[in-house]
C-alpha cells in the first residue's frame, strides 16, 4: 500500500489525470476560440474596419496581382439565383476544412466573405479569424447592397430593394425571375462602364509571418 504513494507513482498518476482531464475538456472550437480572441479583434468589426464597399470588391476582382478568395456563405437557393463570378459557396460548418488553404495563401492573398446582408458573413469572419487569421474582409451590405449598386433592372432582375439596408434580415430581397447564378450582368460588372463610387479603401496586404521554425 505504501508503494502506491511513492512520489513517482503519484507523479505519474497526476500526469495521467491532467492528460485525461484535458482530453475530456477539449481544445477550443472556432466559436470558443473567437471568444478568447474577441478582446483583441472585435474592434475591427465595431469600427467597421473590415467591411468593404462593393466598389472596392469590384476593384479587387479586377486586380491581377491579388490572390482573391471570395467565400459566399449563403444557402444553395440564393446561390443559384445570383452569385458573384469567381466566388465559392461554402457553409459555415465547412469553414474548418479551409485551414490549410488559408495558411497557404501568399502575401497577395485577400479573402472576402459575402452573404445577403452582413449577418452570416460576420459570423463567418469571426470563425475564419479563429481558424487561421487570414487577411479577410466582409462585403458591406452584402449581396443586397451589391445589387442596389450594380444591379440592372431588366427582365431577369426585376427591381431594386432600396430599403434593403434598413431591414437586414439575411434574405435576398431582390426579386429575380430566373435563377442565373453568375450569369447575370451584375455578377461581374464592367469596372469601366459602371458609375465610379467614392469609397474608403480598407484592404491592406499583410506581411506573412511564418509561425514555425526557430533554430535559425
Amino acid at each position: 500500500m505504501k508503494a502506491l504513494f511513492k512520489p513517482q507513482v503519484l507523479g505519474a498518476g497526476f500526469l495521467l489525470a491532467a492528460a485525461g482531464a484535458l482530453a475530456l475538456y477539449g481544445q477550443p472550437d472556432l466559436e470558443q476560440k473567437w471568444e478568447f480572441m474577441a478582446p483583441e479583434y472585435a474592434s475591427r468589426l465595431e469600427y467597421r474596419e473590415v467591411y468593404i464597399d462593393p466598389a472596392e470588391l469590384l476593384h479587387l476582382m479586377n486586380d491581377d496581382y491579388i490572390e482573391l478568395l471570395i467565400y459566399d456563405v449563403r444557402d444553395e437557393r440564393d446561390w443559384n439565383i445570383f452569385h458573384l463570378v469567381d466566388s465559392e459557396r461554402i457553409d459555415l460548418a465547412d469553414l474548418p476544412s479551409q485551414r490549410k488553404r488559408l495558411e497557404g495563401l501568399s502575401e497577395m492573398g485577400v479573402v472576402v466573405v459575402v452573404s445577403n446582408d452582413e449577418i452570416l458573413a460576420t459570423r463567418a469572419w469571426k470563425q475564419l479569424m479563429a481558424l487561421a487569421k487570414p487577411n479577410v474582409y466582409i462585403l458591406e451590405g452584402g449581396i443586397n447592397h451589391w445589387l442596389n449598386v450594380y444591379g440592372i433592372v431588366d427582365d431577369e432582375h426585376q427591381g431594386h430593394d432600396t430599403a434593403s439596408l434598413a431591414r437586414p434580415d439575411g434574405t435576398l430581397r431582390h426579386p429575380f425571375k430566373l435563377a442565373l447564378g453568375a450569369r447575370h450582368a451584375a455578377a461581374r460588372p464592367d469596372e469601366h462602364r459602371v458609375p465610379q463610387r467614392r469609397y474608403t479603401a480598407k484592404v491592406k496586404l499583410l506581411k506573412k509571418v511564418v509561425k514555425a521554425g526557430g533554430c535559425g
Binding site: L15, Y25, G26, Q27, F36, G214
Partner: protein
C-alpha cells in the same frame, strides 16, 4: 492571449533580456541535472543511467500539458506559437547522424555549452567540432539542396497525422512516456541488476 509581441512590449533590449533569462534557466537546470557530464549522457545508451530519458520526456510531457491546458483555457493561442515544420527525411537522416554524434561525442549542442561553461575540455573539443560541422554544412548544402528541401509537410502535428483529437494525443504521449520509463527501467534491471538510485 499569449504569446505576446515581446519587442512591442519590452523593446528590443527588453526582449533580449528575456531570452537571456530563459537561456540562463535552461543552462542552470541542465547543469544541475548533471547534463554537463558526457559520461552521464552517454550512459543512457548503455542503460546504465536513464537520466537523459527521464529529463527529456518529463520536460516534454510537462510542457505539453501546460501548453495545451493554457490553450484550452484561452490563455495561449496554439496557432501563434512556433511549431517546428516537418521536413521528414532530412529530419530523420539528420537525427540518425546526431545519434551517432551523440554516442561518439558524448554531448548534444545544448549540453556541450553547459560543459564548456564548467571548463570541461572534452566539451570544448566537441563544441569546436560542432562549429566545423556547421561550417561544413554551410559549404556543402548546395550539393544536397534537393534532399534538404524534400519531404516538406509544413506545420504538421501528430493529431493531424493520427486523425485523433489533440487531447487524446496528449494522453497517448503521457502514456508513452510512462511506458518508456517503466520499460527502460526494466531493461536496466535486467542488464545491471539494479535501477537508477532515485
Amino acid at each position: 492571449m499569449a504569446p505576446f509581441d515581446l519587442v512591442a512590449l519590452l523593446g528590443v533590449t527588453g526582449s533580449y533580456l528575456v531570452y537571456l533569462g530563459i537561456g540562463f534557466g535552461f543552462g542552470f537546470i541542465l547543469e544541475s541535472s548533471g547534463f554537463g557530464d558526457s559520461r552521464k549522457l552517454a550512459a543512457q545508451f548503455y542503460f546504465r543511467e536513464l537520466r537523459v530519458l527521464k529529463v527529456m520526456f518529463t520536460a516534454i510531457v510537462v510542457a505539453m500539458l501546460l501548453v495545451f491546458w493554457a490553450s484550452a483555457l484561452g490563455l495561449l493561442d496554439y496557432d501563434e506559437i512556433m511549431v517546428k515544420e516537418t521536413w521528414l527525411w532530412p529530419g530523420i537522416v539528420g537525427g540518425l547522424i546526431m545519434g551517432v554524434g551523440f554516442i561518439l561525442g558524448g554531448y548534444c549542442p545544448g549540453t556541450s555549452l553547459v560543459s564548456v561553461a564548467t571548463l570541461k575540455v572534452d566539451g570544448m573539443f566537441f563544441l569546436l567540432g560542432h562549429v566545423v560541422g556547421v561550417l561544413a554544412f554551410g559549404e556543402s548544402v548546395g550539393y544536397i539542396n534537393e534532399f534538404w528541401n524534400s519531404s516538406y509537410m509544413g506545420r504538421f502535428i501528430l493529431p493531424e497525422l493520427l486523425g485523433l483529437d489533440t487531447g487524446v494525443v496528449v494522453l497517448l504521449v503521457v502514456c508513452l512516456a510512462l511506458v518508456m520509463f517503466l520499460g527502460f527501467g526494466w531493461i536496466q534491471r535486467i542488464i545491471y541488476g539494479r535501477g537508477d538510485p532515485e
